[in-house]
Amino acid sequence: MKFQGFRGGVHPPQAKNTMECATVRMGIPEKVIIPMQQHIGALCQTMVKKGDTVKVGQVIGNSDAYVSVPIHSSVSGTVTAVSERIISGSNPVVCIEIKPDGLQEVSEDVKPPVVDSKESFIKAIRDSGLTGLGGAGFPTHVKLNPPKDAKIDTLIINGAECEPYITSDYRECMENTENIVEGIKNVLRWTGIPKAMIGIEDNKPEAIKKLKKAVENIDNISVHGLKTLYPQGAEKMLIKTLTGREVPPGKLPSHVGCLVMNVASVAFVAEYLKTGMPLIKKRVTVDGSSVKTPMNIEVLIGTPVGEVFKFSGGFVSEPAKIIMGGPMMGISLYSDEIPVMKYTNALLALNEKDGKIPEENVCIRCGRCVSVCPMNLLPFDIDRLVKANQYDDLDKYNVMDCIECGCCAYTCPAKRMLTQSIRLGKDALRRKAKK
């Protein structure tokens, strides 16, 4: 098998300071805030109201829409508020605030699902509340049920973890190896996909070794060390590296016969099928220049990020920027009241020096943005058109292809907000298409 890799990419400082930090479990927070949208797709309707008592694993939000997943309570306690809040972005989302009673009483609904067919497997995955745990939050049951005409021949398991700082997937590989393998077997069995490939960047040799050992007697699961190059873990790049196939513009991985799942997602599938406990906790890497003790923490979903930082030992300096996710693609938070969500894999607190937004200078046409773009775009040109409001000329530049990996803006010596401009361009094109 020839590993072809992808074009472009950058080498940000890896800062994997927490690789050897075994996961520490954080207790029950003083309150949890659970947004009714933690996934791509339809917003969930609230199933509880203020004053209700809830139990662990109880469904508190659900939707009839196909592209949506239920949301469960991560604690037992009393609902203290159901209100709209701004989480990230600018649109308010309904959130359920619960005051835990500390008992963690488990709901009667939590029992291992009965799975005897593809349909019941996919239903079980939907009931589990699973969305892609790698960061994008796409509902897993939708992914597992591709269009009828798509012939999937490869399940790709993403353990690349190419973002700086984050080691939560690495800890998953080290601490939950058996469940990863079992989860892969489950997915292969019920979807009928013939083989699985696990891809891990070669800066994590221990994880590669451990998984290789775990699958050595399994013919149809293979483990592959990948060149450490950001954005190796981006879906399209990972597929290209492992299979040589390019997902065409606007198409899904199923178009080229691939299905991509994160290591933590498959491990969760195995656990859920055994216990029936839905997605209520997440392993989160806590790091950044303001954090006193970088570590990996298992956190109940809904825990305000401020409490997670406090649990880790607090700050060495006042944070200037708080990021949910990695520094290349994560979301910067405006408040430490925002809760940990299903797709949260890291919480970073950066000091003034690392967090401040650099001043933009003029483009010197050095060409770095073009040479690092894994999607072969011309970021400097798109930036120029967007800044001049020439949205009509954007069509020719394949703007919608952008995966927003951030390589262009990262590498720009003039510190131009290239990725940010492209996002504006995408938004303008989407609005134009709607008209």
Binding site: V10, P12, P13, K236, E246, V247, P248, P249, K251, H255, V256, G257, E318, P319, A320, K321, I322, I323, G325, P327, M328, M329, G330, I331, S332, L333, Y334, D336, L350, G355, K356, I357, N361, V362, C363, I364, R365, C366, G367, R368, V370, S371, C373, P374, N376, L377, L378, F380, D401, E404, G406, A409, Y410, T411, C412, P413, A414, M417, T419, Q420
Partner: protein, 318 residues
Amino acid sequence: MENMLYVSSSPHIRSEVTTQRLMLDVIIALIPAAFAGIYFFGLRAALLIAVTVISSVVFEYLIRKMLKRNTTIGDLSAVVTGLILALNLPSTLPVWMAVVGSFFAIVIVKQLFGGLGYNFVNPALAARAFLIVSYGARMTSWTPPLTVANDIDALSYATPLGALKEGGQLPNLLDMFIGNIGGSLGETSALALIVGGIYLLVRGVITWHIPVIYIGTVGLLAWIIGPDGIFTGNPLFHILAGGLMLGAIFMATDYTTSPMTKKGVVIYAIGCGVLTMLFRLYTNMPEGVSYAILLMNVSVPIIDRCTKPARFGGKAHV
């Protein structure tokens, strides 16, 4: 949380490379060539370097003030332009002409077109071309290096390419490599220029593509189109003569006036090489590096348009 938090769209980290740092690296890389110029041509060379650098920075400051724009001398690009211009001048040039050159480079070519990033030709090269047109005799009066015996008539001393064209005595290749020959004050020492070029490569300021392909094309054509028929030429002579090293390493690689894609860069560098040899062999000018690069500079928009990278996933698969 006592303080307000920064909120911005990702990415949240940026590389260490800045425009200013890139310019500083180019300045550092030019220091060996500047010292070689002073070594071979004396303090007159040092004077010209100082004058063009200072006047370039002063012009940049003044024109930005007059145009009511922000001050940009901190990005060091004016220093680079001044330094490269100086290295392109004969050491005997009157100081006021050097100042005129700085004015043309900074005010006319660079700032009137919008400043850094917007000039369509290399400012230092355009200024050199302007000076040759305006003060041809003074721009082509070469003195022998101080290291060569001083009994030769100073103003009729020829550069290697001049000697080739006029039929004079050709210097040996070793002298050409270390810079012990006539020419512009910063172009003669291939050794010093290569040292600077290696520094730029190591620092990641430039890639090998433009210098290697440009110089390679010149060498190949020089070998093919030899004086005694095909494949009889001496590639090393053409590679070491004139302004090729300075042009290929420091001027053709100018970001603003070179293509944005790798494919474009290859076309551009080959074009520079072909034009250089056409000028050297088939015109009445001894040297062609400046005009070759200037012509390729103005071709960059067309090259960029024709070399857009292929769309990811654009081809049919599976």
